[in-house]
C-alpha cells in the first residue's frame, strides 16, 4: 500500500518535472500534455485503489523520511491516507485528470503549452501534499505550494497588459495573480500563527498527537488556534473579506479556474476545517464554529447576490463557487463535517463541469466573456450545452442531481441546529443560485443569436475533450445517490452528524421548499432571458441605473474600498519608505563604497613608482607594528 501512496502522490510531480525539465524551453509539444494527463490518471487509479483499501482495511499511514529534526522539533515527512484524505485525493485527481485532458484541447494553440502542463501538474502535486500530509507542517508546505502554483497559473498570460482598475473585470492576469498571492499571504500569516501556537502549546505538529492533546488546553488558547487556522482557511477558500482574489483569478486560463475552484485550491480551506474537526467541535470553540457558519452563510448570500447581475460568464461561475464555499463552511461550522465534505466533492464535480463548459463557450467565442453578446449557442454547441445544463441543474439543486442531496443536507442541518436565520438565508440563496446559474445558461445558449451581429463563428470543442468531460457529468448527476454509502464510509473518521427526529419528520417539507424556490428561480430566469422575438430580453436601463445594481456591479465596493483604503495608503507608505530606504540603507552602503573609492583615490599617490618612497612607507608600517607590539606588551 505504501508504494501506492507514493504513486498517487508523486505521479503528478513526475509529470510536472517531465514537462518542466525536458520541455521547458522546447516549442509546443503534444507529448507533455499527454504524459502529464496519463500520469495524473495513474495517480487517480492509485487513489481509487487506496480508497478501496481504506474501505476494507482502514487508514494507511506512511512515513517517508525524517524531514525536520532540530532539538525537540521532529517533523517527519509522513502521509496519512484515511477516509477524509482519500476522498479528497479521489476528487482532486479525478477532476484534475479531466482538466488535464481538457487542457490538451483548450491550450492547443498556446505557445507556452509545455509550461502550462508543468505548472498544472505541480498544482495538483501541491494539493495532494496538502491533503495527504499527516502533520500541519506538511499541510503548510502544500498550502504554500498551492499558492505559488496558483500565482504561476493565474498569471499564466502575464504578458497581457495591465489595465486600470475601473475597467474591472478586465484586469490583467499578472495583476490578478499578484492579488491572489498577496491576499493568500495575509491569510497564511494567520495559518502560520495557528501552527506556531499548536507547536508552542503541544510540542508536536502530528495530527493524532495534536488532536489528542487539544481537550487539555486552556480555552483561550484553543480559541486563538481556531481563529488563526480559520483565518488561513478564509484566505485559501476566499471567504469574506479575503474573497476578491477569487473572481479576479478568472484572468487565468479557464482550465486553471476549473482546477482552482473544483479541486486544488479553494477547497483547501474547507479541508482544513474538516481535518481539524476535533478542534472545531470542541465546546470551547463553539463560538468560533458558529462564526464560521455565520460567515459562510453570509458569503453564500453575498456572492449569490453579486452573481445575479454579473455579465461575465466566468465571473458568474466564480461567484457561484464562492457561494457554494459559503455553504460548505456553514455546514462545517454547524458541526456537519461529513456533509461539508460531501458537498465539497459534489461541488467539485459540477463546478469543474461548469467551468469547462464555460471554457468551451469562451473558446467558441474567441475569449469573449460577456453573456450579453452570446445567446442561441445551443445549435452550434450541443455538447457543451448539455454539460452546462447538467452542471447548472446540479448547482441549482434539483432532485436526483448531486447538488440536491448535498445542499439540501446542509440546509437541513441549519434547520436542525435551530439556527433559523442561517436556514432562511441559505434557502433564499438556493433560489438565487438557481436563478443566476440558469440566467447564464439561458443567456448563452437560448434566445436570439446576438453574436451573429458581432461576427463570431462559434464551434464546439474537440470531440475527445467533450468525451473526457463525461465522467464529471455522470458524477454531477449521480454522486448524490451514494450519499448513504458515503456517510457510512466517512463517519468512521468524521463525527457522524444525525438529524434529530423532529427534523427528520419535516425533511420532506424542507426539501420541497428548497426545490420550489429553486424551480421558481429557474422559471423566472427562463421567462426573463430565454425568450425570442418580441418577448426577447431587453436591457433594463432604469434598473441598471439604480443603487442596488451599482452596488452589486461594483461588488459592494469592496475592491474599491481595498483600493482606496489599503492599496493607496500602502503605496504612499511604500514611497515614503523607499525614500528612507534610499537615504539610509542605500546611503550607508554607498557611503562604504565611496569611502573605499576615496581612500583608493587618495592612496594612489603612494603608487608613484619610486621604490625609495615605497621603502619609506614600508618603514613607517614597520614602525607602526613595533609601536603596536610595545603597546601590547605594556598593556599585557
Amino acid at each position: 500500500m505504501e508504494s501506492l501512496v507514493y504513486v498517487a502522490l508523486f505521479a503528478p510531480f513526475v509529470g510536472s518535472m517531465f514537462a518542466g525539465l525536458f520541455f521547458g524551453n522546447a516549442p509546443r509539444n503534444a507529448i507533455t500534455g499527454w504524459v502529464a494527463s496519463t500520469l495524473l490518471f495513474v495517480s487517480f487509479l492509485a487513489s481509487v485503489a487506496l480508497a478501496v483499501h481504506v474501505v476494507h482495511h482502514g487508514s494507511v499511514h506512511v512515513t517517508m523520511m525524517d524531514w525536520i529534526s532540530a532539538g525537540d522539533l521532529s517533523i517527519p515527512f509522513g502521509f496519512l491516507v484515511d477516509e477524509v484524505s482519500v476522498t479528497m485525493m479521489v476528487v482532486v485527481t479525478l477532476v484534475s485528470t479531466v482538466v488535464h485532458i481538457y487542457s490538451t484541447g483548450y491550450m492547443d494553440h498556446d505557445k507556452s503549452y509545455n509550461r502550462f502542463f508543468s505548472y498544472l501538474s505541480a498544482f495538483v502535486f501541491s494539493m495532494l501534499i496538502l491533503v495527504m500530509s499527516d502533520n500541519f507542517a506538511g499541510l503548510f508546505i502544500g498550502w504554500e505550494g498551492v499558492g505559488v502554483c496558483s500565482w504561476l497559473l493565474v498569471g499564466f498570460w502575464y504578458h497581457k497588459a495591465d489595465r486600470p482598475f475601473e475597467e474591472n473585470p478586465s484586469i490583467s492576469p499578472s495583476w490578478a495573480a499578484n492579488e491572489a498571492f498577496i491576499m493568500n499571504r495575509v491569510a497564511d500569516l494567520g495559518m502560520l500563527v495557528g501552527i506556531f501556537l499548536i507547536y508552542w502549546n503541544i510540542g508536536s505538529l502530528q495530527y493524532d498527537v495534536v488532536f489528542a492533546a487539544m481537550p487539555n488546553l486552556a480555552d483561550g488558547i484553543l480559541v486563538a488556534i481556531a481563529i488563526a487556522l480559520f483565518i488561513g482557511a478564509m484566505g485559501k477558500s476566499a471567504q469574506f473579506p479575503l474573497h476578491t482574489w477569487l473572481t479576479d483569478a478568472m484572468e487565468g486560463p479557464t482550465p486553471v479556474s476549473a482546477l482552482i475552484h473544483a479541486a486544488t485550491m479553494v477547497t483547501a480551506g474547507v479541508f482544513l476545517v474538516i481535518r481539524a474537526n476535533p478542534l472545531f467541535s470542541l465546546e470551547a470553540v463553539s463560538g468560533v464554529s458558529l462564526f464560521i457558519a455565520a460567515l459562510g452563510t453570509f458569503v453564500a448570500f453575498y456572492a449569490a447576490s453579486m452573481a445575479l447581475i454579473a455579465r461575465d460568464i466566468k465571473r458568474i461561475v466564480a461567484l457561484s463557487t464562492l457561494s457554494q464555499l459559503g455553504y460548505m463552511f456553514a455546514a462545517a461550522g454547524l458541526g456537519a463535517y461529513w456533509i461539508a465534505l460531501f458537498h465539497l466533492a459534489a461541488h467539485a464535480f459540477f463546478k469543474a463541469l461548469l467551468f469547462l463548459g464555460a471554457g468551451n463557450v469562451m473558446h467558441a467565442m474567441d475569449d469573449e466573456l460577456d453573456i450579453f453578446k452570446m445567446g442561441g449557442l445551443k445549435k452550434a454547441m450541443m455538447g457543451s450545452y448539455i454539460y452546462m445544463g447538467i452542471a447548472s441543474v446540479a448547482l441549482a439543486g434539483l432532485p436526483i442531481f448531486a447538488g440536491f442531496y448535498s445542499k439540501d443536507a446542509i440546509i437541513e442541518t441549519a434547520f436542525n441546529e435551530g439556527t433559523y436565520i442561517i436556514w432562511g438565508i441559505l434557502v433564499i440563496t438556493a433560489g438565487m443560485t438557481a436563478f443566476y446559474s440558469f440566467r447564464q445558461v439561458f443567456f448563452s445558449f437560448h434566445g436570439e443569436k446576438r453574436y451573429e451581429a458581432l461576427g463570431f463563428h462559434p464551434h464546439d470543442m474537440y470531440k475527445y475533450v467533450l468525451v473526457a468531460m463525461a465522467p464529471l457529468a455522470i458524477l454531477a448527476i449521480s454522486f448524490g445517490w451514494f450519499m448513504d454509502d458515503f456517510k457510512a464510509f466517512i463517519t468512521k473518521n468524521l463525527p457522524a452528524y444525525e438529524m434529530s427526529h423532529h427534523t427528520h419528520h419535516w425533511a420532506w417539507l424542507l426539501g420541497l421548499i428548497v426545490v420550489i424556490i429553486a424551480v421558481a428561480g429557474i422559471v423566472i430566469a427562463y421567462k426573463k432571458y430565454a425568450g425570442k422575438g418580441a418577448n426577447a430580453w431587453k436591457r433594463d436601463e432604469e434598473f441598471e441605473a439604480s443603487f442596488i445594481y451599482k452596488l452589486l456591479e461594483n461588488q459592494y465596493y469592496v475592491p474599491k474600498f481595498y483600493d482606496e483604503f489599503l492599496v493607496k495608503p500602502y503605496t504612499i507608505a511604500s514611497e515614503k519608505f523607499w525614500a528612507i530606504d534610499k537615504a539610509v540603507v542605500d546611503g550607508s552602503v554607498d557611503l562604504i563604497a565611496k569611502a573605499f573609492y576615496k581612500s583608493g583615490d587618495v592612496s594612489r599617490g603612494m603608487q608613484n613608482g619610486n621604490l625609495s618612497s615605497y621603502l619609506n612607507w614600508m618603514g613607517a608600517g614597520a614602525l607602526l607594528l613595533v609601536v603596536a607590539a610595545a603597546l601590547a606588551t605594556a598593556i599585557g
Binding site: R604, Q607, N608, G609, N610, L611, S612, Y614, L615, N616, G619, A622
Partner: protein
C-alpha cells in the same frame, strides 16, 4: 655592575634602528643591502641574548637560520643587482621607476 639581558636588547634595538635609518635613507641598492645586513645582525644579537638568558639553545638556532637566510639573500640579491646594473647602468633607486602605477 652586571650586564643583563636588558643591555643586550637595548643594544640590539639601537643597532636595528641604525639599520632602519639606513634602509630609509639609502638610495643606492648596494648600500641598502648593507643596511639590511646591519638589521639582521642586530636581530641575531637579540636572539642569542634571549637564548642565553633563558638558558635555551633555540635562540642560537634562530640566529643560525638567520645567517643562512642572509647568505642566500646576498647570493641572489647580488646576482639581481648585477643584472640591474647592466640594464640601467646604475644602482640608484630613483632611476628604477617601472613600478609606477
Amino acid at each position: 655592575m652586571e650586564i643583563g639581558i636588558g643591555h643586550y636588547l637595548i643594544l640590539a634595538g639601537l643597532l636595528f634602528s641604525i639599520g632602519f635609518v639606513g634602509v630609509l635613507r639609502r638610495k643606492n641598492l648596494l648600500m641598502l643591502f648593507f643596511a639590511t645586513e646591519v638589521m639582521l645582525n642586530a636581530v641575531n644579537v637579540a636572539f642569542t641574548a634571549i637564548g642565553n638568558y633563558y638558558g635555551d639553545l633555540s635562540g642560537q638556532m634562530f640566529a643560525f637560520f638567520v645567517i643562512a637566510v642572509a647568505a642566500s639573500e646576498v647570493a641572489v640579491g647580488l646576482g639581481l643587482l648585477i643584472v640591474l646594473y647592466k640594464k640601467y647602468g646604475s644602482l640608484d633607486l630613483e632611476t628604477i621607476s617601472s613600478m609606477k602605477g
